[in-house]
């Protein structure tokens, strides 16, 4: 359920808008978001900036969305392996679903996500588009 909170947006600013991720300072594994321990057990990470380039691991087209995304449906969503190693979930934009393929190269773009109510805030975030 989407909570309307500018604090949440501030807290997630790096993940959502700047493509800044985290690299384990022990084993080097990269994460798009900082969550708990690394698989190696380490809790210390260095910030890294992702290039925004990656490949599609799997994808779908969502035809009926949750409340906040209803007016955007249908839209494409994918799990993407970034070139630096982190695996992320993101919407695909500026593409035809029929042209998508697993393994296809994509790159990050900033796009509108959804608007909270009639007079609400417009939320932006990172989507990906196929490279041509």
């Amino acid at each position: 359920m989407f909570r309307e909170s500018s604090i949440i947006r501030w807290r997630n600013y790096n993940d959502r808008y700047k493509l800044i991720g985290y690299k384990c300072d022990q084993c080097g594994k990269t994460y798009f978001e900082k969550k708990g321990l690394c698989t190696c057990g380490s809790l210390t990470f260095d910030e890294i900036e992702f290039s925004g380039k990656g490949k599609i691991v799997t994808y779908t087209k969502v035809h009926s969305g949750a409340e906040a995304f209803q007016e955007q449906a249908p839209f494409c969503v994918a799990i993407i392996d970034l070139d630096e190693g982190a695996r992320i979930t993101a919407q695909l934009t500026d593409c035809d679903y029929e042209d998508l393929k697993i393994g296809m190269e994509v790159e990050a773009v900033l796009r509108k996500f959804y608007k909270s109510g009639e007079k609400g805030v417009i939320h932006y975030g990172t989507k990906f588009t196929p490279k041509f």
């Binding site: 359920m1 799997t58 779908t60 969502v62 009926s64 969305g65 799990i79 979930t89 993101a90 919407q91």
Partner: protein, 384 residues
Amino acid sequence: MKVGVLGIGITKFGEIWDKGLRELLLDAQLLALKDAKIEAKQIDALYTGNMCGDSLSGQLHVGAMAAENLNLDKASIRVEGACASGSLALREGVLAIESGQADIVMVNGVEKMTDVSTEQVTTALMGAGDEELEGFNGLTFPGLYALLAKAYMTKYSKLTRDLLAEVSVKNHFHGARNSYAQFKSEITIDTVKNATMVADPLTLFDCSPITDGAASIILASEKTAKAMKSQVYITGSGLANDSLSLARRSSLTSIPAGAVAAQRAYSQAKIKVDDINFAEVHDCFSIAEILAVEALGLAKPGEAYKLYENKDTYFDGAHPVNTSGGLKACGHPIGATGVKQAIEAVEQLRGHAKNRQVKDAKIGVTHNVGGSGATVCVHVFKGE
């Protein structure tokens, strides 16, 4: 481990407009008491699975409600683990008896989902995924399982669109033979393929419905259960967890926690896969049943399609799966589903499953998934 089943109670599953959360829960509780032939005051503790009481009905504290319904002041707790809430409540009940803290336990599961719009339900259910990493990107539950389906069917192309549809066709066949199922109509492969697309490749008929319903089961220590001539016992309970988001999993063509939970339950029950006569699995989406039968070891990775090619998963087949109709046809009142699966296992082992009875059923397993695989709980049931 051995915990007996004294009684079961279940409401009709479906759109039950004249009953709210409390009434559904009470109906199931009273039916279970009647079946167990005990009085409410004999219950030592209650565990109630419920996921959406707060988001869909504005009602938290369903544990207290379950005790209040029966005028009890006994320990009563709501258990939440998304779609696995029911089996987690069952597991808590088993553990309470195993620990010696309780001799007789009532386990309930309840969900009231049809009072609100489909979009509200879609939003509420997404709380079972990773809100910041998946929900924020517009993903829905059908979307998450569609991502798994796409990955699986690309890697294992022998699972065709038609064979995937066979999951729903078979579950509707069973649902048509279950008196409390939400859908009692048989369907064909074309029904599935021609239905509205929800999240490619999953159509409306690949998806479990929005359902109201409640289920209750009464457990007792082996000693008490034996004295009351119980015919069914729980002999294994396995629980495993994984990341909330799909992107953090070690595999997108399986649900890793499913196999771990199954092995934990089998080893506790001291059984092998070959001992299993039937399984009730978590088919929230058709692809989920494929992943479930592989997690349980009924098929090797990538080979579940064979069971559907050969119609092995029908009640009279070699590996009966979801004789209740599964989540697809019986319905999926989230918190009640795990308890309903247990009730189907008990019906089969008592030999009460009528025109969907598995012949000579002695051992059955239930497999309940929370989210897209972040929680999986497996139980082993044995008939005596």
